[in-house]
Symmetry: D2
Subunit: 386 residues, 4 copies
């Protein structure tokens, strides 16, 4: 039921993903995916590499004439810079491994712990896979998930609500939840705050420093009843938390304004239940639960927020120690991104889309989109007629 | 590799858990587990039921003469109030299902969404399993995990760092990370704040309202190299996030002070790397990463914080709608807990223990504790000699 | 989606199973399960223990008033002889472990390999879990699966087609595939062969020897399209093979008459396809594929055969070696079963039922029986209208 | 722990596999894999396509300079005939789907059941993925598994022991278990039988018919203690059965001579246990258990046999029905293989290698080959010293 695996090193030949569990008959074109790949590379505060790249996906299996076949889908995103890395990164025994050797672990990265764990003497062998470059493969997978979801009227949005110490005001955020602000440099709903965010980026870049921030992901059009409370790992909140936290640099997650809710009285937090007799539908006047009660979608918007730490690769020097000589040194990089929070939003959309696609597949089963739709409509009719 | 499933309804005969993947030869007594079951029932702010209960585990398989057999472990926690519920909750067809019927969904609970999803006309059929009562079974499983971890010098602590709007000061928190404050009424490291927290509980109770808060879980003694960055769902941060978020009422999770880190510059956040030549060991002077870099333990303390929403069962009335008549009503309960944050800390310890036990099993393999220890020591010797 | 775990030692207090993934609203009574527990204990050739036992299940979670709740189902089968074993098998540290010690591994059992693997010095710690006693828990789980299947008109039958060197004739076997011959002492479709089988049992018993044989499992009422070819582990044949082979003493499995098919020409083996315009239905005139093509049900009867080795516990002496002294000795047991092939048939039904229940859940999804049925009927309508 | 997924259609651009769970530092070159890809294409009785192909793998991730990185390994096997199929099979919406349309299901294939299940109106959309072509990707994965196993002295062999009605004599089979007979046209250990097998192939080809047969897979060098009896799906016999049965056209599996064992007395079947004081080692004088007792390796050779049905694509006509018109027709193909049993042996080796690699990873854990080896040697020392 909608699973995926990715492979690929940051400077390897390509990223590869295999996606299983799609029903037959879903429209899927490379351009559906490329749009998000491009969005992932954008945002104010990116450095040089992002401009070079311009990722594109190739669909190498599972799709024929623009429709899914039901068989596993394989996706490839080539490394456009492969020629320059081939001699260093080649799988062949002739690869030159004494070039590009990394023995100096960077604070905040997997370098040191990964090197110890895997007994890598060249930390390049860690960082190549631990790199956030891998999220390009995930975004490609997310494109597949989004195509499935869109067949059921489900959409996913993301935006930046905080960057460094600058926060967008809650009013602007709540005012347009169904918007990804793709026309904005930081994809922030609050133009005034965005201006100050950009200044913060400029300031950090000047110092050779980096910034993190908060992203918000919103999913609309969800039926009541995805996920379940019956076993711990089947709860949708647990699965969303894992998915979000698996994104490199994301270290905090909340469903709805959970950290704020924790400070309030219960009578203020819990979303009272109302019924609209006209629409034959239950509804809420507020959504502090973020769309999930008991680990199940409750029909309100799904709202997730995640905290991204500042990028770990800094131009400014951080102290570290060479793993071989044990000599201290100061880690620094020439050129780098200052901030990638808008990109993290796109990756966050991806992770949410994947979890929701899984949950839809579980609830509605079916092997073709047509069959899955029949199941979906039968359920929605029942919900409506309750 | 260390998996578990639980079964049982809140007012059913018993909770049952099956735990797989323990090596042979680990000491395991009921009393190891009962201690945490008792801790889960404590804390200032609990109502009547907790006092009645006093849970005890029975080990019904997988252990002989105080040692694990390598076979699945089954654990039972009986419902001491079963006699009063038997006629309503019995599995037999003679059970009286028109008693105790619930048609009025409580905001903040799974009631409404669960009833729709599963087509339950009596919401008791939802709330019995969605109840936080299930966490008693998890705590029993956590007791098993902790026994394994303790054989490798790994300990887990929890405390309450915020309750409602009252926050413990960071100095008291950082000063004693390796302490669960079991002698304190709210298991809070800051005595002064704790006093105000208790007042907040009293005040909320008087109003028939409830409170949430923040808990902190700390694990000590972890080897470098648990978890991995190589595939998204294998990252330890992702797995910890899922585990924590699967606890009822937990809606937010962070590894280290992630939400604060998101507001700071990278140069301030990333933990610089040093080497102690005396101990032949890498170390950090700060631990803002919370012990995980790239989804791997880095040898520092693992520090996780989680946000618990206020309890959803209030004495004070919340508005809701009867699912059959669609008539509005005001939901209220006679007697209830006001706050269960200290208990959530114990459940949080459990979830962390389970994830760490899994990660230890994966890294070190082995079928007996003896064998697993040989593997562990070989690794630690290698780490030391790097 | 319909998973289960079991726990319990042969002479422990009880067997326990947890079953997840049942939809709500399925009828489930203890008596549905007890019938198969009883059938598992029967058959000509059983020794003393089977007569003592008379297993009964207790449903301790997941069912209320005779209907499934959607939450995990826990099942308990008590050991009626527990009082006699308690001092030896108790989980408490006070258990007397120098009684009942086994240091002499029996050929054909897990004793030796299990003892080495798990570093058990007392092989009782192996044989207690490796015992076929565990299949009583599986049969209980199978009872749950069968209740789900029966709601969709799917039935499962088993019979004994060979016992030792005596084989039932193919005509009698094919003549009544939809029959479990529960009124026959060896559940064999061929009365004449059965007579000789019983004589073979008597003869083997007289020599203190044991017998194996072949069982056949048939499932009827299956929709076309369960299982899939798209990924290796999702093929229904692979999953059925694993399930059957996981039964202790089953060492061979075939879908349809596969070992015979392997000796024939393709033109003889492959089931030609016909269409019945009256019934608007595809059909076959023979079913040598055993109901599966490409790992998918094709609408014909599912027919599986499995080879059971003779029981490994013999009264007659087999040579072995004491694991501590390394001295040779002759293994023998006072009282034992001579043959348990009919019982293996019941366990085989169970394993097939479990795999089919999983496959039905995957294809049709849904959270309540009602919903699952809507999906099922929509599909059957489509198939009919093709 | 050593998992894999494949993607790719028979006439698609390429097959892709992603393999996870390899430790670091294992030698892996394309040539290790290509050797088996070539062996898979060989054998007397293959038709034209096999000669065209000559598969070669490309390693696109997870390996650097001939050593595994610990990260997922991705493997690609291109379709050398892609240019001729591109217009029909392209993922782009411009693909010409009214060419190469298949509406006539072939008996013995997934065509009919798959078409119904997935609502494919063009059965090409079924057969492209259901084709045995996919096993080329598995063989590539098997090459990875074999490299891991060979680092622990484990080897895997296969041969053909029956082809159609011709059987190799047991003496020749038992005489050289550790041999794959790669220099023989049918990889059969019995030269005389092989001669008759080749005649049977010629005869079948002349009639436009096909043949199946039996293969035997042998693994040597296995430590005692892989797999376990503690939970049904962890038994090594169950996992091997699933793996073997997942191979297209394999419909029967036995561990050791299980179907024959079923006809014998227990005293004849069970392998008595002896101890060689010189070698400090337990041993057997016969191996009728096929190397597994209680679902665990017992230190003897692992011996598995599998039954392959005759190929389902025949030149000779079989009756079938057009899925759209419902008109009967006679299915036939111009050019095809007559027999692919030797190839199935290679695929069988692959599946066994994969399961054993998993079991080795589970038992010994570790993240680098070096670490895994330390664990392995510690265990072997313990076994030796028992």
């Amino acid at each position: 039921m909608f699973h995926y695996h990715t492979a690929g090193e940051s400077h390897g030949k390509q990223l590869t993903a295999i996606v299983t569990g799609m029903p037959t008959g879903v429209s899927l074109l490379a351009e559906h995916i490329n749009r998000d790949l491009k969005r992932r590379q954008g945002g104010y505060g990116r450095g040089g590499r992002m401009k070079i790249e311009s990722d594109e996906v190739e669909i190498t299996a599972g799709v024929r004439a623009g429709k899914t076949l039901g068989s596993p889908i394989s996706l490839t995103v080539r490394n456009r810079d492969w020629e320059n890395w081939q001699t260093i990164m080649s799988p062949d025994p002739g690869a030159i491994t004494d070039k590009g050797v990394v023995t100096r672990p960077r604070p905040g990265h997997a370098d040191l712990a990964g090197g110890i764990k895997y007994r890598h003497r060249d930390l390049r062998n860690v960082l190549e896979r631990a790199s956030a470059r891998e999220t390009a493969a995930r975004v490609a997978v997310g494109g597949v998930a989004k195509q499935l979801l869109s067949a059921f009227g489900i959409s996913i949005y993301s935006c930046v609500i905080q960057l460094g110490s600058v926060r967008a005001c809650e009013e602007t955020i709540s005012a347009s939840l169904e918007n990804s602000f793709d026309d904005q440099p930081l994809r922030c709903p609050d133009p005034e705050a965005q201006q100050r965010m950009m200044e913060a980026v400029d300031e950090a870049r000047a110092k050779g420093d980096t910034l993190g921030g908060l992203i918000q992901i919103v999913a609309t059009g969800l039926p009541v009843g995805l996920g379940t409370y019956v076993q711990w790992h089947e709860r949708l909140d647990a699965r969303l938390a894992a998915a979000m936290m698996s994104v490199p640099a994301i270290k905090g997650v909340e469903i709805g304004p959970a950290f704020e809710n924790a400070t309030l009285l219960g009578s203020r937090v819990h979303d009272e239940i109302f019924y609209d007799t006209g629409k034959s539908q239950f509804y809420r006047q507020q959504n502090r639960a973020g769309g999930l009660e008991g680990g199940i979608t409750n029909g309100e918007l799904l709202v997730i927020r995640a905290a991204m730490k500042p990028l770990s690769t800094l131009r400014q020097a951080l102290r570290s120690v060479d793993i071989h000589t044990k000599e201290p040194f100061e880690a620094s990089r020439q050129r780098t991104d200052t901030c990638a929070v808008p990109a993290a939003g796109v990756v966050g959309e991806t992770m949410v889309a994947i979890v929701l696609a899984q949950a839809m597949r579980e609830k509605f089963g079916g092997d073709s989109l047509e069959e899955m739709r029949e199941h979906y409509h039968a359920y929605m009719d029942y919900v409506q007629g309750m």
